[in-house]
Assembly symmetry: C2
Homo-oligomer: 128 residues x 2
C-alpha cells in the first residue's frame, strides 16, 4: 500500500535485509499544500545540505510539479553509491534531528528505494 | 488526489495550459504485481522505443524498487527538451496505439510532469 507519512521514523525508505550490490536511487515524493511551495523548498534545502555532505552521496534533483493535478507536488530523486552508504546516512543522530525538525509535519512524504534497470540518453547533437 | 489509471486516455501527464519554458521531466510510477516484473519490463521496453525516437527526447531511467514495501514497483523518469516536445510525442496516432496495446491493463500508472528546481552532483573523485 501507499505509505505517506509525517512521522520522522517513516522518513526513510525501507531497504532489503539481504545485500544489494550497486547504486541505489531514493525517490521521495512530497505532498505540499498550494501556497506553501516556498516554505517547503526552504525546509528541504536545509535538510539536503546534510545529505550532500555524506559519503556515497552522488546526486540529487528536486522536481516541482507542472502538472496541475499532481498529487505529489515535489519529488526528490537522489542517487547513492551503495545501499550501505544510503543506510549509514539515514542512521545518524544528525539525520534524526534533521527529519524531526519542526515544520516537516506539514509535508507528508512517501520515500522508496530503487535501482536503475534501464538507462538511455539521446545522442548529443553534433556541433561540427 | 492520486490519479492511477489503466485507461489509455489517462496515460499522459496533464500539462499546464499556459506556456512553460525550459525542460520538463515525466515521472511515471507503475503498479506491478509480484511475479510480473519481467512481463512489465518487456512491455515497457517495447513502448519506450517509441518515445526515444521522438524529437526533444533527452533521457530516461527506468527504476525498479528495492524497497520491500514500495507501492510503485517501477518508476520511469524521462527528461524532455520542452513541454511542446513532450506534448507532441503524446499526441500522435502511434502513441495511442502504443499505450492502448493489450497487456497494459495489468499495470496501472500515475504520470505527472515536473520541472527540475534544484540539481546537485557530488564532486567527482580525483584520480590524480
Amino acid at each position: 500500500m501507499l505509505r505517506e507519512t509525517t512521522d520522522p521514523d517513516g522518513r526513510t525508505a525501507t531497504a532489503p535485509t539481504t545485500g544489494h550490490t550497486g547504486g541505489v536511487t531514493l525517490i521521495n515524493s512530497f505532498v505540499v499544500p498550494v501556497g506553501r511551495e516556498d516554505a517547503f523548498q526552504a525546509k528541504w534545502t536545509e535538510a539536503s545540505g546534510y545529505f550532500r555532505a555524506q559519503p556515497g552521496f552522488l546526486s540529487l534533483r528536486l522536481h516541482r510539479a507542472v502538472s496541475p493535478d499532481a498529487h505529489y507536488r515535489f519529488v526528490n530523486v537522489a542517487r547513492w553509491d551503495s545501499l550501505e552508504a544510503f543506510q549509514a546516512a539515514h542512521a545518524t543522530e544528525e539525520f534524526r534531528r534533521v527529519v524531526g525538525a519542526p515544520g516537516w509535519e506539514e509535508f507528508p512524504s512517501s520515500p522508496s528505494l530503487y535501482e536503475v534497470v534501464v538507462e538511455h540518453d539521446a545522442p548529443q547533437p553534433s556541433h561540427a
